[in-house]
């Protein structure tokens, strides 16, 4: 019997039950890991497996749950030794009566962005397990008990790329219907089916009675067969046990046939008796066939967004025509991009477009870094925007969830290079209605290209619902007849091909006055023609108002709840709000900028700086007003008259003023004039960055250009940045005794590589003596002291 036959045969497939508790019952000591049972206690293991086979198990999970190099490190055994021994014992016990699965459990460390383990390292750890499993003759692989969808992705990818084994993937959820890391069954189903899992499911987690809502969610978002392997009820609060009997377990499991579950087993606390009872209860039961129709949707690891109404794609993370974004990309300033992401989602964007294409930067590397950083701060799904296959490949790999690829077009070279990536990573794709001959004039020709793209996608197995067509907006000032053509094309793609439509709307008004008016009207016209996914600036109130009005008028926003929520309190502004937080109104008080900074009045500082810029040179404002004001605040902090929170309020006000000045400087020749630069990093292995961020803002306030490399930074990256930017000063932060070693290593590497820079260090556990011992030039006890060091080094 092969796995595919089991899958195709009608009726339930039986899995096994708990392993850890069974081993402990045999005599495994607490604290003795179960990983080595196949080597240390093969007889126990064989007996347990055999008991499950006797109970009716058709697929045994080999005892390889913890057989990855991270978990085995302390045992001194290799992955290959443990995997081959475990599979051998399971196969002997199966004796041809059951299949044997390579069981792949979590690594035990959190992946980026929740943790520090890089995604590719996780893939490599799983690759080693998969290769050992293939070598040892596993019939299939099971990825189970995952709480991080990204880790499940890593394991599934490793199995797909290094074997032809069927793969079942199962996550473990809490009662609130999410994993510890916040992933729901919706995101899990969309992502894992896209990535090529054969079976998805739920294990461990809860008891069988808690399964129905989770199973219903999985079947709502996926057409794959479902696996369920719950615990023997909920944990008994009094101690280590679980709260339901084998009979109760069996009865509850048998009811899951009504929901269409295909694979049945048990996890913690279940024994061969539970499985035998369950086998009996399932005998002769048919699995109810439930027709499934999965809606078009995209997702992040923690949020699914069905395209069942207008969904706004925020366009702001894109350097085209944006000076500050270009500067941020050149400097690798993630915070700027993260700020843009948060502002757009707060304004109502459902999905964020990400484009980092800029001459002179490594786009694939930058795209990967930006995608990871964005997924750390927002749960909005992303639209990965590049025409380069290598950039899209890197971004799709790093992205947790189901993304949108923007874009392919009718040209053969984009179709053949990009569509296979869309298929491999299970994304949705935007098809532009243009080809090597440009944008067709006629609607019919655009439809023809849309058809060509759709056919190619379908041939590769990309579902119809995941193909979105962009009929392309032409600038009305250049091609006035174009707008009507575009609108008609949207309507026909929707009606004749039944596809979702995307459209960037802001370009329509280029070169005309009163652009917001044109944009808003064009958007409304397009929505009535069936536009699903407008790409726009959500910070523009008029655009979001058009979308919200459309939802209200089309009876999608029931009882106008969302509309009233958005506008019930305030007047609608039809202008575009400033992207920065600085209000455009004149300062309400007559305070000077210096007084405003000292008082920490962030809301007034930007406007005051803007007023001053009309009469005063930008550098003079920095040197003559901001810095003296900050000095006075700093002196108060040093003398204990004011405290850190007030220092930060002043820094925040100075920052708001500085942003206005920086915009002006970025507009003049050259980039922002800054002293330095100063390289800042929290060292490898350390993730505490609030102290470093405070230092950064203070340095920027004092007019220094700061290159912030972020947290958990490899020594080599610090060296590279310091050398490339010819930085006179490098600032390193570490908050843990265990990461001071990485700080020392970073300084040593800077010295060994002969980088001509001074090094200042700080962080809670550092002392002046230790700073000296590890070769730092300066120790700074706080952010203010770091500024003093910078003033000494950089003149």
């Amino acid at each position: 019997m092969e796995f595919r036959e089991l899958l195709a045969a009608p009726g339930p497939v039986l899995l096994d039950g708990g392993m850890g508790t069974m081993l402990q019952a045999k005599g495994l000591r607490p604290g003795e890991g179960p990983e080595l049972a196949a080597l240390d206690h093969p007889d126990w293991l064989r007996e347990i497996h055999a008991a499950y086979v006797a109970a009716g198990t058709q697929i045994l999970f080999a005892n390889t749950f913890g057989a990855n190099r991270e978990k085995l490190r302390r045992t001194g055994k290799t992955v290959s030794e443990v995997v081959s021994a475990s599979l051998r014992v399971a196969r002997e016990a199966a004796a041809g009566r059951a299949l044997v699965a390579l069981d792949i459990g979590p690594i035990g460390q959190l992946l980026e962005p929740a943790g520090l383990l890089p995604f590719e390292e996780a893939v490599d750890i799983f690759r080693e397990v998969v290769l050992a499993g293939v070598e040892a003759g596993a019939d299939l692989a099971v990825v189970e008990t995952m709480t991080d969808l990204q880790e499940a992705r890593a394991a599934l990818l490793a199995a797909r790329e290094n074997s032809s084994l069927p793969v079942m993937v199962s996550l473990t959820y809490e009662e609130r219907g999410r994993t510890f890391l916040g992933c729901g069954p919706d995101s899990a189903a969309l992502t894992l089916e896209g990535l090529g899992a054969d079976v998805i499911g739920v294990n461990c987690s809860l008891g069988p009675r808690e399964m129905p809502p989770l199973v219903r969610e999985l079947t709502r978002w996926s057409t794959l067969p479902i696996l369920v392997k719950p615990n023997a009820g909920l944990p008994d609060p009094a101690g280590g046990g679980y709260d339901i009997t084998p009979e109760e377990f069996a009865a509850a499991m048998a009811e899951l046939t009504e929901l269409g579950v295909k694979f049945y087993g048990g996890c913690c606390g279940t024994t061969p008796e539970y499985i035998a009872r369950m086998a009996k209860a399932l005998r002769g039961r048919e699995i109810r066939e439930i027709p499934r129709s999965v809606p078009a949707a995209v997702c992040s690891g923690t949020r699914a967004v069905p395209i069942d109404r207008v969904r706004v794609i925020g366009e702001r993370i894109n350097p085209t025509g944006k000076k500050l974004m270009k500067e941020a990309l050149r400097k690798g300033d993630m915070d700027y991009m993260l700020g843009q992401a948060i502002a757009q989602t707060e304004a109502g964007a459902d999905i964020l477009d990400v484009n980092v294409g800029l001459p002179g930067i490594d786009e694939a590397d930058m795209m990967t870094r930006v995608v990871k950083a964005l997924q750390g701060v927002t749960d909005a799904p992303l639209q990965l925007d590049s025409g380069k296959p290598e950039v899209l490949a890197a971004a799709l790999r790093a992205y947790c969830g189901k993304a949108i690829v923007n874009s392919v077009n009718g040209e053969e070279k984009t179709l053949s290079a990009i569509l296979p990536l869309v298929k491999k990573y299970g994304a949705a794709v935007v098809g532009l209605t243009l080809d090597e001959n440009g944008i067709p004039k006629t609607v019919e020709a655009r439809l023809e290209i849309a058809r060509r793209i759709l056919d190619r996608a379908l041939a590769l197995g990309i579902p119809r619902k995941d193909v979105y067509i962009d009929c392309l907006t032409l600038t009305a000032s250049a091609e006035q007849a174009g707008a009507a053509q575009t609108l008609e094309a949207v309507e026909r793609v929707k009606k004749e091909l039944g596809l979702r439509t995307v459209l960037g709307v802001s370009n329509i008004s280029f070169g005309l006055p009163a652009r917001p008016l044109i944009n808003q009207n064009f958007l409304t016209m397009a929505l009535t023609k069936g536009l699903d996914l407008p790409i726009l600036n959500p910070n523009a109130d008029a655009m979001m108002a058009a979308v919200r009005s459309f939802h209200l008028l089309m009876n999608i926003d029931r009882d106008a709840r969302e509309f009233i929520d958005a506008y019930g309190q305030a007047k609608v502004s039809t202008t575009i709000s400033a992207a920065s937080s600085a209000p455009s109104a004149a300062p309400s008080s007559q305070r000077s900028l210096g007084q405003i900074v000292e008082a920490g009045l962030k809301g007034e500082a930007g406007a005051a700086a803007r007023t001053l810029l009309e009469t005063t040179d930008p550098m003079e404002i920095i040197d003559g007003i901001l810095i003296p004001a900050l000095d006075r605040v700093g002196a108060g902090f040093e003398s204990g008259r004011i405290f850190l929170p007030q220092l930060l309020q002043a820094a925040g006000a100075a920052q708001a003023a500085f942003e206005v000045i920086r915009e002006r400087l970025a507009g003049s020749a050259g980039s922002a004039a800054g002293k330095g630069p100063v390289i800042l990093a929290t060292v490898r292995g350390d993730i505490h960055d609030i102290g470093k961020n405070i230092v950064r803002v203070l340095l920027e306030n004092y007019g220094y250009e700061v290159v912030d490399l972020g947290k958990d930074v490899e020594p080599a990256r610090v060296v590279e940045a310091a050398r490339e930017r010819k930085a006179p000063l490098v600032g390193l932060s570490a908050l843990m005794t265990t990461t001071l070693g990485a700080m020392k290593e970073t300084i040593s590497l800077l010295r060994r590589e002969g980088v001509d820079c001074r090094v200042v260090v700080g962080g809670a556990v550092l002392t002046a003596e230790y700073a000296k011992e590890i070769g730092a030039d300066f120790y700074a006890r706080d952010a203010k002291a770091t500024v003093d060091v910078a003033r000494q080094v950089i003149r």
Binding site: P30, G115, L116, G182, F643, L644, D686, I687, T738, L766
Partner: protein, 224 residues
């Protein structure tokens, strides 16, 4: 059992580097706002186990065979035949909130970070109350964590493994021994049949002693 009902604003301000009685209104408001947001984002979870204790020359050995090395803890647990090992976490949602805040306003970011630190202490206090109720006849020295005294942080991973913490509560340690989710604690609470000296956490055992701004200026944070 509700482990986290409120977060004391005074503690948040203290962690922010501001004596509560001298807080300006803006900082006070930031601390209050941060407390509300952390309360909304936190999903506190914990797990525990009881262990015997056997003192040895180099430290103290648990029933699982794990040696907790160092002299401070051994001294601290003198007279305790057993102990409770526990861990607690505010969950990944708080980390996500802190990451989001890190790219925005500094005062808000600091207040949130400090509110989360105060919250995890609250959770541990609530756990300790529950554990004390469970052993009404016992006496308890204060709870002790890796990083205090000479107990190394490198124990975190082993302690979590023993507690089955990754599976039970989603708590892990990085290869650099940082607990993830960040706002989490592992601790050992001794159980003694005889009264223990009324010792409390002091600067000597405080994990923040080296970087403490209060100590640097010759003062004290006020936590006794």
């Amino acid at each position: 059992m509700n482990l986290l009902k409120t977060i004391p604003i005074g503690e948040i301000l203290r962690y922010m580097g501001c004596p509560p009685d001298r807080a300006d209104p803006v900082s006070q408001a930031a601390a209050e706002r941060a407390a509300q947001r952390i309360l909304a984002a936190a999903v506190p979870r914990w797990t525990w186990m009881e262990t015997s204790l056997s003192p040895e020359e180099d430290g103290i050995r648990l029933s699982s065979g794990l040696l907790l090395p160092g002299q401070d803890l051994k001294r601290h647990l003198a007279g305790c035949g057993s102990a409770v090992l526990f861990c607690a976490t505010l969950g990944a949602g708080v980390d996500a909130l802190l990451r989001r805040a890190a790219s925005g306003d500094l005062l808000e970011a600091l207040a949130l970070d400090c509110a989360a630190s105060a919250a995890v202490e609250e959770v541990c206090d609530a756990i300790e109350v529950a554990l004390r109720e469970r052993w009404p006849a016992k006496y308890f020295p204060f709870r002790y964590s890796p990083g205090y005294g000479d107990l190394p942080l490198s124990l975190q991973g082993e302690l979590l493994r023993l507690l089955d913490a990754p599976r039970r509560v989603g708590l892990t340690a990085s290869s650099s021994h940082i607990l993830l989710p960040r706002k989490s604690v592992t601790a050992i609470l001794g159980l003694s049949d005889t009264p223990v000296a009324a010792s409390s956490r002091s600067c000597a055992t405080c994990p923040g002693r080296d970087g403490c701004l209060y100590r640097k200026s010759g003062g004290h944070c006020g936590i006794s």
